[in-house]
Symmetry: C2
Subunit: 218 residues, 2 copies
């Protein structure tokens, strides 16, 4: 399948077949994407809660009660559901942890190079913390970068997906005690296989025209 | 190539080979991804300025002067460079334009369904405009979702890529008169082929451990 075919295959799946499960060897590839996603200055400001059992999906569906109930069935019927969580702060201690991890992984031949990376990363992070004052949004943007790869990657495996912003962040933070662990829920992705008859599979995709969205400097 | 191989193949390319060009039939796939990317409530809040010529890359490199000069060479030496621009506002007129586009593309069997989608989309958009007051960040998150797919998609084609947040937004907005067209520059992605000897290609990837980033509810 080439990218054009994948782009047309994938869609926001509204009805999952509760009897179909993503094989482990495919979901392992999704987990590899989650972990090896790029992020600005390799900040990796994330944690993922993954449900692959009825009990797990039930817990995640605590984020789809009340006015979010339109997403409950999708969470319960999917094969795997991923709750994308962002760090709820980014501080020097964490940046030193990243640096040490990179050092252990063999990225630094000498201490001066390691120091330089730390300085540059701290400068960028502090720009968002103290100048732009948008560190939380900046971290969440990195999660969306990761999520975009997951949606395409799933499509390339013939796996259907539904990204959901419409979830109860506060209920999920409470259910998993996220805030005290330094994270906050951001969005969810349900993965599985479309059920025959999903109305959204039959509808044509609609996008703004090429003329509207592209300026080519040739 | 499976996703695990792509995840390890791709990296932040620091030195592009200026003599290698992405074949048109591959870049066309990238353009299809850009256009058919998912986005929250199909908002598609984007425009892309694409340079595939020396003159075009020169213009984009106006965003890599002064304190951003560390990115200039990457922009000039890449094969194709994409400037991701976000809408700088989202209003009722635009939402009606999306709705009409979807209607023309055949997504609405009847007027009541069309009205319902408009109501729901307006509710979500207004939540970000007037309750969360984060419409700009929310739109930019959709761009990052798109960008994440581009980075993975490029990797699947054997194309190297470098995402860049470190660009001069103001200079680019002026160079292309973006603000008055309703957009603002957000980030850039350079695409091409790594040059032999790129130091970053030789370094091992480093990521936080599985134990740190995954909670599996089995």
């Amino acid at each position: 399948m080439n990218l054009t075919e994948i782009a047309h295959f994938r869609y926001a799946t509204k009805v999952f077949d509760p009897d179909k499960r993503i094989p482990d060897q495919l979901f392992d590839q999704i987990k590899t994407l989650l972990r090896f996603s790029p992020s600005s200055v390799n900040s990796q400001p994330w944690h993922f809660i993954i449900a692959d059992s009825p009990e797990g999906r039930q817990r995640l569906s605590q984020g789809a009660l009340g006015s979010y109930a339109y997403n409950e069935r999708k969470i319960l019927d999917a094969s795997h559901v991923i709750l994308f969580c962002a760090k709820n702060a980014i501080d020097d201690e964490y940046l030193l942890h990243l640096l040490d991890t990179e050092d252990q992984d063999g990225r630094y031949a000498d201490a001066s190079q390691k120091d330089l990376v730390h300085q540059v990363r701290t400068m960028f992070v502090n720009l968002h913390r103290f100048d732009f004052k948008d560190a939380q949004h900046w971290m969440e943007k990195q999660l969306y970068l990761n999520m975009g790869a997951i949606l395409l990657g799933a499509g390339s495996l013939g796996v259907d997906a539904l990204p959901m912003e419409g979830i109860d962040i506060q209920a999920l933070n409470e259910e998993f005690g996220l805030l005290k662990q330094g994270y906050t829920a951001v969005a969810m992705v349900a993965l599985g296989y479309r059920k025959a008859g999903d109305f959204n599979a039959a509808l044509p995709k609609s996008r703004r025209s090429e003329a509207e969205i592209f300026t080519v400097l040739s």
